[in-house]
Amino acid sequence: MRAIFWKELADHLGSRRFFILSLIILVVAGTSVYLGIQGFQENPAAARDFPYLRLFTTAPGALPSFLSFLAFFGPLLAVLLGFDAVNSEFTRGTVSRVLAQPIFRDAWINGKFLAGLGTLAIVVVSIVLLIFGLGLYALGFPPDGPELARLGVFLVLALLYLGFWLALGILYSVLFRSTASSALAAVATWLFFTLFLYMIAGVVADQVVPVRADSPAEAWLKHENLRDFILRFSPVALFEEATLPILVPSYRGLSLLALLMQPGVPTNPLPLGQSLLVGWPQLVGLLALTSVCFAAAYLVFMRREIRTS
């Protein structure tokens, strides 16, 4: 499996599509962080608690924060690494040649998945380190222990999230014979979860529990809960909900109840363990989605006949 891992990793890192997408992510991430740093210079008070974490979550001006950017564009990179993993080997005619070598069949798909994950890890870690470097340059002091711990957790979460999209891409590459249809399906799924589901959730919640500005708090609560319930089918929402408490230490949950009680609740930061607890269900959901996706790809691949005609 090691041979497959290294070959696939080298293929990914040398491919043009990887280069272009990482470049886009790098440029936009760099810009948003740069603006964030400028915000610190205008308002030095904001830099007091967890300045490094703020670099990832604050949205200066019209640009999205690094976090929402990763939630939106990260999947595209991950899915593009996976969508032709298996079917391109069929069209190139390399399947039977490789599988005629003394390797277990699952070593191949495992190696491909791990290589994709390794590639994503390289991208995410280097971008985070770059942001650190920019922050160090602008702020003039290093991040402290809790900040580093939180960023470590964030990296794991980000990889889990991107791993889901990678597994989805690989699943499509097993299900669809042509790379064009698997790419289309992958991009369609990405658009559905990042854009349409948000609209659908809003519309459905409005229809089922209509609310107006003067509606009672219970109605609003029901409306928001229904919206959240639908949204939580999307890995994008799960990822955002799971990472917010990690990157915003004072964050206590998304529910309206928490928001309503906000004035009465102290806003001082939670310890890492408690922040983790806030996002724990979402984290487990994300892990489950990733596992199910990869398991499906694995099973279909193992049963596939090698014969193409």
Binding site: S96, I103, R307
Partner: protein, 302 residues
């Protein structure tokens, strides 16, 4: 016996691709699997390699069962698929190195084996060029090199010469013979090109609708030879007389005024006498080459 299969059956989407196939191949033999497209050649090969499971029947390859111990079989068997594909952006050398790594061959030895194999197939000069720039014939030879680096006991080649010009095909056939003579490999090749199979194979098996319809040495399978005579400046009367003669088995007129007569060995004196008496111009009299084509057609016309 390096390959032994009994009563192989395989169903694809409700169709029996193999319907009770028996196969036995001896060590150091070049065995040709013949048959039209869809007769079950590739299916047989995939089953031998453990790449697909038979619906029924027993197989042993190099003493192992490909269904239960696919890895043991794959370690000893080299395989070149029909439409052999490579990673286009990698060079010939890198493509082969991926294979040696998958086989767990240590780097130093692998390097030597790869260069040796590329030299044997005549691709050493282009070893570091990406495969995307290779012609079809070069790819096919790279496919052979891919089998060679493994140093297998049994090499299975699926249509090794399909779509190649005659010169390239001849090169590949020579290489196949070399595999057996120098490296002591057993070779199983499938093809629908009869004259090529005839050139290199010790034994052939003819497949039809998933069954073995004939098997044996090429010489045994082909019809007894006989002779062919060509007469020039023939008139219709001459033709009629020839057709009436008992020793002339068949009379054809490939070109106007030229008659081609097929006859048995014993018919030669009769022919010479006939030519002398009738004043016919005998252009040539040669032994008829036995071909598989006839027997092949005999089976598939039915």
């Amino acid at each position: 016996m390096i390959v032994e299969a009994k009563g192989l059956r395989k169903q694809y989407n409700g169709v029996w691709a193999l319907d009770g196939l028996d196969l036995a191949i001896e060590e150091r033999e070049i065995y040709g699997l013949l048959g039209p497209n869809g007769s079950g050649k590739t299916t047989t090969i995939l089953i031998l390699l453990g790449l697909t499971e038979p619906s029924a029947g027993e197989v042993r390859v190099c003493g192992h069962d490909p269904v239960r111990e696919p890895l043991a079989v794959k370690r000893l068997v080299g395989y070149m698929p029909e439409k052999v594909g490579f990673y286009e952006e990698l060079s010939a050398f890198e493509n082969l190195r991926f294979i040696t790594r998958l086989n767990g061959i240590p780097e130093g030895e692998a390097r030597q084996r790869i260069l040796e194999a590329l030299e044997q197939v005549g691709l050493k000069d282009v070893a570091h060029r990406p495969v995307a720039t290779f012609s079809h014939g070069m790819r096919q030879r790279l496919g052979l090199a891919d089998v060679l680096v493994k140093k297998p006991r049994l090499a299975i080649l699926d249509e090794p010469t399909s779509g190649i010009d005659p010169e390239g095909a001849a090169q590949i056939l020579d290489l196949i013979r070399l595999l057996r003579d120098e490296a002591g490999m057993t070779v199983l090749l499938s093809s629908h090109l009869l004259h090529q199979v005839q050139r290199v194979c010790d034994r052939v098996g003819i497949l039809h609708r998933g069954r073995m319809v004939a098997e044996g040495r090429v010489a045994e399978l082909t019809a007894p030879g006989g002779f062919v005579a060509v007469l020039a400046q023939a008139s219709p009367i001459l033709r009629a007389r020839l057709e009436a003669a008992e020793w002339a088995l068949a009379v054809e007129e490939p070109r106007p005024g030229e008659l081609q007569v097929t006859l048995a060995e014993e018919g030669r004196p009769e022919l010479l006498r006939f030519a002398a008496e009738e004043g016919a111009l005998l252009l040539e009299l040669r032994p008829k080459e036995p071909t598989l084509e006839e027997i092949y057609l005999r089976y598939f016309r039915e």
